[in-house]
């Protein structure tokens, strides 16, 4: 997902009776569906885990601007150009909301950037794949945003107030993102044979990385169990992946496309699709920094930040000058 394999520092899940009174009250509040707000007492591990998860989510939005941004200047019509630009701009906005939510936990945005730029913080594996044709822009909207929504909708109910509220705003704004992607593809598959081929090629390349977005099975993961106990994660990775496949396969059929999975078939008994296992070795390579675009994505972010230092400093200096002038003129009165 946008936040993949977030560590919690937990060795195992504590029972209520093993907790000290403060922690027990905290856990009971979560269990009864109350929101935790900034500056309220929280276990250090909860705070750290949230910072990891929210900042990873924020970094994914910011790095996620790049693959789609790659096609803004080549969008095929004025309307498509405006829609894509608005969408990528929304992603910057979502990154901003999320950084702000993380800032309420006692970390600054610049610190989070530093963690991203140094490679210490992760972002979603999906954004390390290249956008090679216009159909990829459709595929990202349809598959990648589609997968993200699966995760983000339940996060609106997560236990940490600022994160939940940011997700409400994000989900509201994102409602058009998946549709615009599907719309691009729907138009193309009804176009020329070359366009239809482009769409199939995009699905072939984006299908498996999209399934990997949910992360490896975490049914046995103590981190995942801890995150669920804290209500900062609501569903298991496999649950979400199944839901995604069930929702997406009929849409692919509607578009007249072939999902590139020979093992894909409807399972009447479970009322869902059976499907093949993604190549997890590829996933771990990408996470380790060896995806097709890791170096370029991180390089672009570092460059934007480094090239912008003089700009940010210039504005700070001006604001300080003006404040000093005002103070002086007040003192002179």
């Amino acid at each position: 997902m946008y936040a993949q394999m977030v560590k919690t520092d937990a060795a195992r899940i504590k029972g209520l009776d093993e907790m000290d009174p403060q922690e027990r009250v905290f856990q009971q509040r979560i269990d009864t569906g109350q929101k935790i707000e900034p500056k309220e007492w929280m276990p250090e591990a909860y705070r750290k885990t949230l910072i990891r998860q929210i900042s990873q989510h924020a970094h994914s939005e910011i790095v996620g601007q790049l693959p789609e941004g790659n096609w803004i200047t080549r969008a095929p019509t004025l309307e498509r150009k405006a829609i894509l630009l608005a969408k990528v701009q929304d992603e910057a906005g979502h990154g901003l909301y999320l950084y702000c939510a993380a800032e309420t936990l006692g970390i600054s945005r610049d610190q989070m950037y530093e963690q991203l730029h140094s490679g210490k913080a992760k972002y979603s594996s999906i954004f390390n794949y290249p956008t090679l044709s216009w159909a990829d822009i459709g595929a990202i909207g349809w598959l990648v945003d589609g997968a993200a929504i699966m995760n983000q909708v339940p996060l609106q109910r997560c236990s940490y107030g600022p994160y939940a509220r940011a997700m409400v705003r994000i989900c509201k704004e994102e409602s058009f993102h998946q549709r615009q992607g599907f719309d691009i593809l729907a138009k193309m598959v009804r176009g020329t044979p070359a366009q239809k081929e482009m769409v199939q090629d995009a699905l072939d390349r984006w299908w498996w990385p999209s399934l990997m977005m949910f992360g490896p099975s975490d049914d046995a993961s103590v981190h995942s169990a801890q995150s669920m106990a804290w209500k900062i994660k609501q569903n298991s990775n496999d649950e979400l992946r199944q839901k995604f496949v069930d929702q997406t396969v009929p849409q692919a059929e509607y578009l007249g496309l072939t999902v590139p999975d020979p093992d894909l078939k409807w399972n009447e008994e479970k009322g869902g699709y059976d499907f093949g296992e993604p190549d997890w070795s590829e996933f771990f390579e990408v996470i380790a920094g060896n995806g097709p675009c890791n170096a370029e994505r991180l390089g672009a972010r570092r460059k934007a930040w480094g090239d912008g230092t003089w700009f940010r400093d210039g504005l700070t200096a001006h604001a300080e000058k003006v404040a000093a002038r005002r103070a002086k003129s007040v003192a002179a009165e």
Partner: protein, 94 residues
């Protein structure tokens, strides 16, 4: 390392004449730029007609531990809520 732009809290009054409502935060070097940035960040969908910004560090908040004493008394004043009063149907809308 250069110093970071301070954080601002953004309040927006929407089209419908309701009070300014907290919508989120952002970074800006000073108040004037915070207003401009708020317009660009938080009114992309025509959400607002008036913007307030306040430096986050200037916000004075009630301490979480006071949550009980501060808010519970008003919880008991249920008569402040319109649903407390049972108006007979024949009276019509009130």
């Amino acid at each position: 390392m250069s110093s970071e732009w301070p954080l601002w809290e953004v309040f927006i009054r929407g089209q419908h004449g309701l009070n300014h409502r907290h919508v989120g935060s952002l970074h800006a070097p000073d108040a004037e730029m915070a207003i401009n940035n708020a317009r660009d960040v938080y009114t992309r969908r025509n959400e607002g007609v008036s913007i307030w910004v306040v430096r986050s560090s200037d916000i004075v908040a009630s301490a979480p531990s006071e949550k009980g004493p501060l808010f519970e008394p008003s919880n008991s004043k249920v008569y402040r809520h319109p649903t407390f009063f049972d108006i007979p149907d024949e009276v019509g809308h009130m």
